[in-house]
């Protein structure tokens, strides 16, 4: 492969040479080299567990023990921690947001290096003023004195980026920055990235979304299984070639199969006038009078902008909000009282939540313990947990979902994002659900794992499981769902069958200010 920097022989700001990093039982990076030059956007792509995040953590000083070397302006450096890397001008925005919710925007930006007054107290005025200047330079429209917890996810992301840049970063690493952003917010982010480029900042951009990579990057580096595969200038790269490099084989399309499942006639889950009263912590969105049916083997999609109430609908059905939910949920035509997730599970429901770390997994438990958690009550013999049955269940699902882990006893937090997602799916499939609720099931995971999850959902649909799936990726909803409910500001604004639905129609219905549709059934 040729390593052509866009600006010819420009000296790289930051370079990794022959970096190898191992974790217990896993070689996360093997002899990987990588460089960023000033004023370029260098995309890094690869499947889950390809080593993208690990490489970024090595570059930003999070992992200090690795083999190989890091060069800053051509000189070898060794960062002892993220702080040193920051001082050297390397800013990173991690996939998960790392902001203190109860502090203001300015307090977050200046966390750990607050400007002081002569009396050694925090100089709030200077802090807010400097934050305002910084935001103006970056064209970010967020007031410095707002509480971070009150901001939308997209705004929080902007604050994170501004924070990383406020240390005069010369290299900015963005790890999956758009996974929680709406299209408009993504566009804002891209114009921000272009502005940084003009200022000579080197941007490293990690994403699973091919369209974004093509839109924003100058060069693309592909990693696979912890190894360096190659670097291409973006204009010369094609989607098919990148995918071939990522997976080591050619995939015909993202959606490998096209056989369509036909749902049955009997309604399994019926939601009638579901409303959620009272504010939920940190989220002000409520839902009002949402109604829809799901038939056996049917996949119903929930589309809508971030904050339109998709998540809340799933949570309300699953009993997460307890007594605050109004309306009726019927299963097999009979109304059921679901006041807690426990009730929901007893009625054969499962909910794959959006946030793996916060609500999906117990990070310090093993793969086995996570897989068996909801079904443990069925794995009991003589009052005791049946170790053998539990191990068989774990091995079953590790095999069935091809979860990549050195062993079932691996701590689940050591797995890559896509494999963690498979563990969550596995733990819910273990209760053999009749109704499967999914919230952003493919968020932040790679093409290969996505295809596997799509395949799995089709299979479940063939097995007549009723599926409700919320997603912000319209192509996947259009491909998978039999019907799509579009949410807007807490209401079900429209309902499309697969035949009627187009990206334009859905976007139109989801945009605030559109006209209402009374009954969407």
């Amino acid at each position: 492969m040729t390593e052509t920097a866009p600006s010819g022989t420009t000296q790289a700001i930051l370079e990794a040479r022959h970096v190898t990093k191992t974790f217990p039982g896993v070689v996360a990076l093997r002899d990987v080299s990588f460089a960023v030059v000033p004023g370029e956007v260098h995309a890094v792509v690869g499947e889950n567990g390809a080593g993208k995040s690990t490489l970024m953590k090595v570059l930003s000083g999070v992992h200090a023990d690795f083999e190989g070397e890091i060069l800053l302006d051509g000189r070898a450096v060794r960062f002892e921690g993220p702080r040193q890397a920051q001082q050297a001008g390397i800013g990173i925005v991690h996939q998960e947001l790392n902001l203190v919710r109860d502090l203001t925007v300015a307090e977050n930006v200046f966390l750990g290096r607050e400007p002081l007054t002569r009396l050694r107290t925090i100089d709030r005025r200077t802090m807010n003023a400097q934050t305002r200047d910084l935001f103006e330079r970056l064209a970010i429209k967020v007031a410095p004195d707002r509480r971070v917890g009150d901001l939308r996810i997209g705004e929080q992301q902007m604050v994170e980026i501004a924070k990383a840049l406020s240390l005069d970063a010369r290299v900015l690493i963005l790890d999956e920055p758009t996974s929680a952003l709406s299209d408009r917010e993504t566009a804002t982010l891209f114009s921000l990235i272009r502005r940084l480029k003009e200022q000579g900042v080197g941007v490293v951009y990690i994403s699973h979304r091919m369209e974004e990579v093509f839109e924003v990057s100058d060069r693309i580096t592909v990693l696979r299984d912890g190894e360096y595969v190659g670097t291409l200038p973006t204009p010369q790269a094609t989607r098919d070639e990148l995918i071939r490099m990522m997976v080591g084989r050619t995939l015909k399309s993202f959606f490998a199969e096209d056989e369509r499942t036909t749902p049955g006639d009997e309604v399994i889950l019926s939601v009638e006038n579901l409303s959620l009263a009272g504010a939920v912590e940190g989220r002000r969105t409520l839902i009002r009078d949402v109604s829809f049916d799901v038939r056996a083997g049917e996949i119903v999609g929930l589309a809508g902008l971030l904050g339109s109430g998709r998540t809340e609908v799933l949570e309300a059905i699953f009993g997460v909000h307890g007594d605050r939910v109004r309306g009726r949920v019927c299963i097999d035509g009979r109304p059921v009282a679901i006041r807690s997730p426990r009730d929901a599970i007893k009625h054969g429901m499962a909910l794959v939540t959006e946030d793996r770390k916060a609500t999906g997994l117990v990070a310090q438990m093993t793969v086995r313990e996570n897989l068996s958690l909801p079904s443990l009550r069925r794995l009991v013999r003589f009052g005791m947990v049946d170790g053998g049955a539990e191990r068989r269940l774990a091995d079953d699902f590790i095999g069935q979902l091809s979860i990549r882990t050195p062993s079932r006893e691996q701590t689940v937090s050591n797995l890559s994002g896509g494999n963690q997602q498979k563990v969550i799916l596995g733990k819910w499939l273990a209760i053999r659900p009749r109704i499967l609720l999914l919230d952003e099931p493919t968020r932040g995971i790679d093409v290969g794992a996505k295809a596997e999850i799509y395949h799995l959902l089709r299979e479940l649909s063939l097995r007549r499981v009723a599926i409700v799936m919320a997603s912000s990726e319209l192509p996947e909803l259009l491909e998978l769902c039999h019907r799509i409910v579009v949410m807007r500001e807490g209401r079900a604004a429209a309902l499309f069958t697969r035949e009627e639905a187009t990206q334009e129609k859905i976007l139109h219905a989801a945009a605030p200010g559109g006209k209402e549709t009374a009954d969407v059934r």
Partner: protein
Amino acid sequence: MSDEARARASPSELRATPSGSLRAAASRLAGSGSLYVGLAIIFVTGCLVSDTFLTAGNQRDVLRAVSQNGILAVGMTLVIITAGIDLSVGRMLGLGSTLAAMLLVDRRWTAAAFFALSAAVVAAGVVSAVVARGLIAGERRDGVSRAVSCAAFAIGAALLALWTFPQVGGGLSILAVLIVVPLSGLLLGGVSGVIITKCRLQPFIVTLAMMTSAYGAARLIAAGGGSGYIHSLYDSEGRVPAGVDWLRAADPAALAGLIQSWAPAGLTGLLNSAGAKQVFDLIPVPGLFFLVSLAIGLFILNRLRFGRYLYAIGGNEETARLSGINVDRVKIAVYAISGMLSFLAGVLACAQYRQGKPDMGGMAELDAIAAVVIGGTSLMGGRGRMVGTLVGVLIFGYLTNILSLRGLSTDVQLFITGMIIVVAVLLQEGFLQRLTARRRQAE
């Protein structure tokens, strides 16, 4: 745990030079095995500095001395694994000892009798209801399960009342005290649990309140008898109630005498034999209670669904709730168990010192927490092992023992113990390992 050891050792093993592999082995020991290494070091030191350290008599004394702290630490381990804390255990021990002494000695309906018996009757009812529902009604939640629960509650409560109420006039038997007092502790601990879960308050503050209230209650109850706060077990002729000495000194013959009215002759014969004497010589009865609670704790953590749920709740409470775990019920149960164990320790303390008083067990909660943390259980929750707690308790016990064998004053002992806690936890956190890793990198 072996996974962790591998994790820590692997970077050094990758560059295995002859001296490096030795170091790797050393750092592996310093990493996960440091707990056992620490205990071994203390044990060997004990053998070296004192002739009496290794004698059976001294070992028995250590086991006896640690048993109260050990019992508290077992409950504390379960609580801390759920990312909670129970500050009330020390004062609960004092309340338990006061109740035990008054129930044994005062032959009338004192405040202690009212308090302990009513609490125990309710607790017995609740326990029978929970057990019955688990066994008979299973997962059902309807009229049948409600009826089963109510019936079981009534039966459990009535049986305990029928057995214990008539005894009050003549002083409760030691067996009744061993059941009534821990049961009332179960109820009090459960109250903490209910407040923590239903009012969504921090365990720290709720158990702090329980600690204060338990002390106040103990003083109120103790003063009610009119004879001051301290209730001695001796009567006017210098005798103690039957069975107390057995609880304290482990005389199997005394136990045989105590139970011969209803036990089969073979059992009393066995207890009278020389073999039984030898066993009880080595393991004193309080130590036996400690080891049995520890074994039950171990069983709960490793074998029961309940134990797994403790780890899940401590690791990520929201995930646990969404996975269908009844988080509130599990947490209430864990504080109830801790309360029960503190009252049990209170009964043992009462027998040990032949008196019950509210002041007993002051600050004992801190020793228990220290032992649990030295044992490697994370105060953040989700991580911890019962065997670690055993080692933590033993490290504490041996240390105190060695220092007093060397004739050091209590003041010096306290000072040194404090420092040892820090060192032990540093070792736990792999401090040595990090130190050697840094030096290796510097080379």
